[in-house]
Amino acid sequence: MNDDRCITCGDTAVVATVISLDGTSAVVESDGVRTEVAIELVGGVAVGEELLCHAGVAIERVSEDLP
């Protein structure tokens, strides 16, 4: 995800949609790319929900806030 940025920096965190759930992990999709992330930090996640993910971990839910 986002190859033109530096992963060390949390600024590369991307918004991804939950595809499936398995205990403390979820498969998420962003821009057609699927990856597994840990979901301990966001709790109670549902399929279809959008999560901010970074370095293999979902760090926050995304709420609607369009300009």
Partner: protein
């Protein structure tokens, strides 16, 4: 793409730029620091400086963890990586960071087993798959990245994995902001605050900037309209003579941050007494190390490390760039001896580094022209 295209409308950007320009007071100039390297990258990638009036100068801050890592820590990382029993795992950006012993990529070329990963959880998987090897992860980053380190440590302990450790170099943003605010070199008017760091720590930790230093802060997202809106919010505060902490990035930043993430960080890591930042020197309580309960996973305890202070190459002016004292292209070696292909300093290594952002997006003409005009 949702959450991308909505924040890249040229029409809305032009409207915001007009509103920003309308807030400029006659005869006044503004210095706004974007703390995050991610903001620096986005500003140059999308050409946002070209939309701003000449009176507003964006100063690049120290918010690139790759850029602020001192040479001595990179030397220690390479010393660990060169041990025969070790598989050294790292985010890709650290591979090209120069040390006094070359880069991790050069160590790999000499035979060290250095592997790039996208998550410390990938490093833990490598540990499970290679029980006869010692797997070390180069943990680095601000508070955004620290939760992934913390979760990995908790999982490693729960699974009883004995061949895994972390070389911890996590830094925290607030002490660096304090150091910048106390630096006599800079007179800033306001801050575009870190976005994803604030997802973890919330907006409250910045309140001292408004209260003690009288400067406004707007926590910002990373899309072009996020950044322009944040600059507009800063300019509106300055026009109204207000100084507050405001949150432009409400879709992922809450006032209190992510309490679960803060809890797992506190459970696994604690503040170091002091830590050296490239360009800023030693800053008290500005970095984290593993808690004693996790010492079996602490590479600093598992391996003998020199821990030496190593001076930057003489020609390199990363320190001044990181403090915003000089602009990247004013460095003596910018774009000549120091390029992204053969970097001398860290600011040219990371794509979030100010020098690499300038170099890659060629945003030199307007700035150079402006300085030439100022000096004539």
């Amino acid at each position: 793409m949702k959450h991308v295209t909505e924040y890249r409308s040229g029409r809305v950007a032009a409207g915001l730029a007009e509103r920003i320009a309308a807030l400029v007071e006659p005869g006044r100039t503004y210095k706004l620091m974007e703390v995050c390297g991610g903001h620096t990258h986005a500003i140059y990638r999308h050409g946002l400086e070209d939309l701003l009036p000449a009176e507003i100068e964006l100063v690049h801050g120290p918010g690139c963890p790759v850029c602020v890592i001192p040479m001595g820590r990179q030397d220690d990382a390479i010393a660990i990586a060169e041990r025969r029993e070790v598989i050294f795992t790292t985010f890709g950006d650290m591979l090209r960071v120069p040390s006094s012993r070359g880069s991790l990529l050069e160590a790999k070329a000499r035979g060290a087993d250095v592997r790039m990963v996208y998550s410390p959880l990938d490093a833990l998987r490598i540990a499970r798959e290679n029980p006869d090897r010692e797997i070390v992860f180069f943990a680095i980053g601000f508070e955004t990245t620290a939760p992934s380190t913390a979760i990995t440590l908790l999982r490693a302990r729960a699974e009883g994995i004995g061949n895994f450790s972390m070389f911890c170099n996590h830094v925290v943003v607030v002490p660096a902001l304090r150091a910048i605010l106390e630096s006599p070199d800079l007179a800033l008017d306001g801050f575009v605050g870190p976005g994803h760091v604030s997802t973890i720590i919330g907006t409250r930790p910045y309140e001292f900037i408004a209260r003690e230093h009288g400067k406004p802060v707007v926590v910002s997202g990373f899309e072009p309209l996020d950044i322009l809106q944040s600059i507009h919010m800063l300019m509106a505060q300055l026009a109204d003579r207000r100084c507050e902490v405001e949150n432009q990035y409400q879709r992922v930043v809450r006032e209190e941050g992510n309490p679960v993430a803060l809890r797992v960080i506190a459970e696994t890591m604690e503040l170091r007494e002091t830590f050296e930042w490239r360009g800023l020197g030693f800053i008290p309580q500005s970095a984290m190390k593993l808690r004693p309960e996790f010492e079996q996973f602490d590479a600093e305890i598992c391996y003998p490390l020199a821990g030496a202070r190593v001076a930057d190459p003489k020609a390199c002016q990363c320190g001044e760039v990181l403090k915003g004292v000089i602009r990247p292209w004013e460095c003596k070696v910018f774009g000549t001896a120091c390029t992204p292909e053969r970097p001398i300093g860290t600011c040219m290594v990371s794509s979030e580094g100010a020098c690499a952002a300038y170099y890659n997006y060629g945003r030199l003409g307007r700035r150079s022209g402006r300085v030439a005009a100022e000096s004539s």
